[in-house]
Symmetry: C2
């Protein structure tokens, strides 16, 4: 039982900014003078309209998105997007290019194939257990889209630079690095991101879609699986996940007003990751698993000399109020997830602990 | 701007028990001694396992459900269930019976038809603007299932007794009256309920499914649209909507431990509805819209003599801290939604206001 808040390195759901949590707590019984909790107000009220419109406006400002994109909020996480993307944008006779960088890309490919869609896996890093991001990929010029996963939470890899697809729209699962750095949105046809890592709690997925692509959405899809249902109703065809959207709005406000935008966020994220990787590179005791030029700023994956020591590392860290450092069950090892809300101080505290653990066990 | 909490008659998202909101607020920065917010803990942690398992166990106890049923938590609301039910349970060559009691049933029918499924609308109350629940229905003996909407939030109607389908599994959308009264679950193959009316906040849909039906789920559905994906992973194939599930768990705990179960809940709900209908029946000024033997205990819909007066009624009620009394935009009029969490005191306060409004305008 912890009496105080701890340092949270969870891969998702993950840490949220303390000021956001405090604001939610403070107004939880009476949101904005409504006399109701945020969980009790109607999604058809002006209170909720203001929330969702502000979340959309902040997203557009933060990412510098033009008016030809729509920002939607969808339930079902990135996993539902794995099937919605091909259902909406891959008609019979068309094919799409997918880059397989492990786990989440692999699932996205599988879901498109379940639907009987034509998928070309144009590059994969499976040969080295997904420890790198492929380069120099030969994309199909007639693909409906090119699908990538911008950051792999499990393998600890991240695209440093998005690939040139020569005009074919990029579709990206950015669940684990959305809003962690500025980037040029214009090559993207669609971006989706489960909120529970960088921008909010579990229960809502942000979708950013280029408007002209919406014209090709087939009519014969179920309403809840068509992007046009969400775009035509400002994500409120049915009751949206109000609390999750509200929390996302507050995190975006924190990104704009407290952090000061995505350039500042990137520089802070880079500083956190650099301190951690530099410390590990200098010692040899902790071995990062991703290749240097593919390392994630968000999920720092590493191994110790054996599994017993890794287990002790995770346990002793928790005793020292450093939580969530176990690697994903599919790969083992250790992982520090250092998304936007993780403060520099948490990383420094982690490095201090790692030094101490190494001196006792090195 | 309201300094205090008001009486909330919203149709959904709707009022939650004050004690539940206070508990969420109290532990919002440090859930269960984890040192993290409920929004920050991992869904793979023992904290969340305990939450979801407790929510399932309480659901089974409250509804007296046998071990041959599974309780699942799915995103996308009842609206996603409109397509998931036929995708999972209606194969080519099979047909299903649907009863059309307005709005939500109509949408459920439409979504099955979009999928190209064979749907028999075996009864409808459209002839009287859905003001009643059809009786003496002739069901098809070879239907895969019979779909009903147990309570219509917009028309203010509710099935008083579920129909005898002679062994064909009932499938019910119980979004607006789940856990409001005890009932025999055994004729039901599947029950679904968006949480945001009787049992929680927006962002999660409870699904109760009979295990043997899961055997007929086709293999070639996308993972997130197959009930078996949820049943095989305790609703955690991907990240569930943790905060919404947690709030549902607290509401179910309140139902069991504070209210004392569904018989007591029904008697309280019946008392609330009876007071409101009896008052309106005695005066003539407020005219309930549903036929007497089909009236909903949850959504009390009524008209005043003209729309101007209805508008003034809703506005003056709000000035008196009585919120959410406007009828649905598709039908107009007035509506008091009095779900489980609405206390008797709220109904009495509403009746007092209605008396006073009538004496000034009658």
């Amino acid at each position: 039982m912890k009496a105080n808040r701890i340092y949270n390195f969870n891969p998702g759901p993950a840490a949220l900014p303390a000021s956001v949590l405090e604001e939610i707590q403070h107004s939880f019984l009476n949101y904005g003078g409504s006399g109701m909790s945020i969980t009790e107000i109607s999604h058809r009220s002006s209170w909720f309209d203001d929330i969702i419109n502000d979340a959309v406006a902040r997203t557009k400002r933060l990412l510098n998105i033009g008016d030809n994109y729509r920002v939607l909020f969808v339930q079902g996480g990135a996993s539902l997007q794995f099937c919605m993307v091909p259902m909406n944008f891959l008609s019979a006779g068309q094919s799409a290019d997918y880059v397989d960088t492990g786990t989440w890309s692999t699932k996205a490919i599988k879901e498109a194939q379940i639907l009987g869609k034509m998928v070309n896996v144009v590059a994969s890093s499976e040969d080295k257990n997904y420890a790198y991001i492929p380069e120099g990929i030969d994309f199909s010029s007639d693909a409906a889209y090119v699908h990538i996963t911008s950051n792999n939470t499990i393998k600890g890899t991240q695209w440093q630079k998005f690939p040139d697809t020569a005009g074919v729209p990029l579709v990206a699962d950015m669940s684990s690095d959305i809003m962690s750095r500025p980037f040029d949105v214009t090559p993207f046809g669609l971006i989706y991101a489960g909120a529970q890592k960088n921008i909010g709690p579990a229960g809502v997925c942000m979708v950013i879609v280029r408007e002209d692509l919406l014209n090709s959405v087939p009519d014969d899809l179920p309403s809840m699986l068509k992007y046009t249902t969400y775009s035509s109703k400002n994500s409120m065809y049915n009751t949206p996940p109000c609390f999750a959207v509200y929390t996302v709005q507050l995190v975006l406000k924190w990104l704009e007003e407290t952090i000061g935008g995505l350039e500042k966020m990137e520089s802070l994220n880079r500083e956190k990751a650099t301190r951690l990787y530099d410390f590990m590179d200098s010692g040899g005791f902790y071995r990062p698993t991703a290749e240097k030029d593919s390392r994630s700023m968000m999920n720092v994956t590493f191994r110790l000399v054996n599994e017993d020591l890794e287990k002790r590392f995770v346990e002793e860290a928790l005793e020292n109020d450093l939580s969530g450092l176990k690697g994903h069950r599919s790969v083992g090892g250790c992982r520090a997830s250092i998304y936007n809300p993780t403060p520099l101080e948490a990383v420094d505290t982690l490095i201090d602990f790692m030094k101490s653990f190494k001196s006792k066990n090195g």
